[in-house]
């Protein structure tokens, strides 16, 4: 049975533990002279990116290559994703070439689930609309783990545009599953209409929350939200919810400052703050590759490859 990584909800604690152990192994691989292992030789990993995202795509492709897998890129930024061709047609065309995994990123929620219906390859959700971004949540959790040991019992604040954030949704799922206490901090217009069933607390007072947390996770505040009358102005947003230099100064040295990138310096995070020793944003990016290697190995390490390299073992 084909395995997928579509949502953090599909992963048990044991699964998460395995993925983190694998990540440890791949971090070590990354430090070697030749940061490459033959584990996925003969496998093909395809990036199907309908949203322009060079960073995430390169992170996945690097991960695949370091496992000696072959990669294929279908990206709207390289125009290889044709306008007018349905996702299903594109998937079936790719499938006909013999592939093992597809990493899907799309502006519409749910597309990775649809792709999983049309393809027998393993599907990885690289970000679907506002819904989920499980590998981001994995690398965020892994980064926190390397500093705090475990997430159990720690208090994490996620600050910003929760309503439109796939990172927030996946992080809430991952952090709470790992035993952390999560507080969402946002103005009323940037929270989802219903928080029923969300294992979180909510606050509109960032200053009060900052005194109590071990991790501050900032979300990108997009320019477009202003035009939708969701916040009166970016300045007002920063005054209420931005991690300004003063707010950062009040944080303890042990408090991690995180961001999924790309940052709007001066809006949700002051430029100087990104250089603080407890700002681990670049570490998050660095952890992205071994985490994605772990995911690919975990998914494709079971079952025969799509294209048999030598006609049998």
């Amino acid at each position: 049975m084909t395995r997928h990584l579509l949502s953090i909800d599909d992963l048990s604690l044991d699964d998460l533990d395995e993925l983190f152990r694998l990540t440890d192994g791949f971090v070590e691989v990354g430090r070697r002279r030749i940061p490459k292992v033959p584990a996925l030789k003969g496998r093909t990993v395809v990036s199907l990116f309908y949203e322009d995202s060079t960073r995430t795509r390169l992170s996945f492709e690097t991960a695949a290559k370091r496992l000696t897998a072959d990669t294929m890129t279908f990206s709207v930024s390289t125009s290889s994703v044709k306008k007018g061709e349905s996702v299903r047609d594109t998937v079936e065309t790719i499938e006909a070439m013999g592939i093992d995994a597809i990493v899907v990123r799309h502006a519409s929620a749910g597309v990775p689930w649809q792709v999983a219906q049309w393809s027998s390859a393993s599907v990885i959700n690289g970000g679907d609309g506002w819904h989920g971004h499980p590998t981001q949540a994995l690398l965020d959790s892994y980064t926190i783990r390397t500093h705090l040991g475990s997430l159990e019992g720690h208090h994490i604040a996620i600050v910003g545009d929760i309503k439109h954030s796939r990172v927030a949704r996946s992080d809430v799922a991952a952090f709470t599953k790992l035993g952390a206490r999560v507080t969402l901090v946002a103005p009323g217009t940037l929270l989802p209409p219903s928080l029923e069933g969300w294992p979180v607390e909510v606050s509109h007072d960032l200053d009060a929350v900052l005194d109590e947390v071990d991790v501050v996770y900032l979300l990108r505040m997009q320019q477009e939200r202003m035009t939708e009358a969701l916040v009166p102005s970016l300045e007002e947003y920063t005054v209420g919810y931005g991690l300004t230099r003063d707010r950062a100064a009040r944080l303890g040295d042990h408090v991690l400052i995180m961001h999924p990138g790309p940052m709007n310096r001066g809006v949700e995070i002051a430029a100087e703050v990104t250089d603080l020793p407890n700002a681990v944003i670049l570490e998050q990016v660095a952890n992205g590759v071994p985490v994605r290697m772990a995911v690919l190995f975990w998914l494709l390490g079971v079952g025969p490859p799509a294209v048999d390299p030598e006609g049998g073992e």
């Binding site: 349905s86 996702v87 299903r88 799309h106 502006a107 519409s108 929620a109 749910g110 597309v111 689930w113 649809q114 609309g129 506002w130 819904h131 989920g132 439109h164 796939r166 949704r169 989802p192 209409p193 219903s194 928080l195 029923e196 069933g197 969300w198």
Partner: protein, 430 residues
Amino acid sequence: MARLVIRGGQVVDASGTRRADVAIDDGLVVEVGPSLDTDGATVLDAEDCVVTPGFVDLHTHLREPGREEAETVVTGARAAARGGYTAVVAMPNTEPTIDSVAVVSFVLAAGRGACCDVHTAAAITVGRAGEQLTPMAELAALGVRIFTDDGCGVQHDGLMRRAMEYSAPLGVILAQHCEVEQLSHGGHMHEGEWSSRLGIPGIPAEAEELMIARDVALARLTGARSHVMHLSTAGAVELVRAAKADGLPVTAEVTPHHLLLTHAEVAAFDPVFKVNPPLRTAEDVAALRAGLIDGTIDAIATDHAPHAQELKELPFDEAPCGMLGLETAFGVAVTALVVEEGQPLELVLGALSWRPAAIAGLEATHGGPVEVGRAANLTVIDPSATWMVDATDAASKSRNTPFAGRTLTGRVRHTILAGEPVVIDGRTQR
């Protein structure tokens, strides 16, 4: 055509229930009684089945003119017949809109000789653009009884008032797709627990309820006869209940899918479950069932909305709204109301047949009691048959049924249109 005898069934209609065979000749019911003579007649077996007036759908999308790849008048009528319907009212959101004599005539002509009686609604505003009223009197003279901009609601309060004032003396009904666009804009599913979890923009219940409240107030002001289409929220049921208690001439319909499915179905992101108004909460489903049971909601109307397969495979937020409904309506209604709510079959039959027939003004020929001299528009149903819905086994041209793979109770066996058996043992005859 030879004499037709429907043998061995229970006859159920608005006047009651009795064991009887029904003999039909020349398009009319000629005899109703036990053990009728079958010599020289075609016999339709109705053993363990119920013989009832054919169903009438107040709300169906036949897609012709303009979207014939999804459905045509002929294929839609066939699907209707298979679902036990002997009459349907087609919705006017076609291309071009059914808003003129020419297009009304076209649809009626296309329906002549089809497997069920095809009637058509017409738009309230030209092109459904919400700006200029259609020639309602002229269209009413062609037989149009229901006017609606279905697909959207009339947004402009002032214009809706004028439409009501103008239509009131014409003996027609203004039916509303209640949706305030300023609130629903950008939404693709019910705004609530599931939309928040899935990160999909939602349509709040208030988008429907506000327009119902407005229409009730305007109906009170103008005395117009108004009909609320596809009710979907508990609040909406309350508003109609209060309006009726006040004696206002308001009627309402509900779809089969809103009686059975909730927004939890969207969790798998299959656009088959995308519909407008959206699937809502379990509390809404309970309130809609209660509304039908206590008479607040008059009829079940399918809102049968066929779409080509590739459109329903688009990403969820890009896919068009709509579900098939004609061929599963009876099964869904029996499952929801008889099996799950313990209601009598008569409630379902009334909601599918004689009550919508009255709203559509078709009571002379459809929905009436099974008695000698009446037009033979009947359906024979097996209320306890269980069956699994097979999406590939459909008379409709499209396949977007939300009930694929689901087991339903209650199945249509035969359908007789003007004395002709157009469906026998579930198979259409032409």
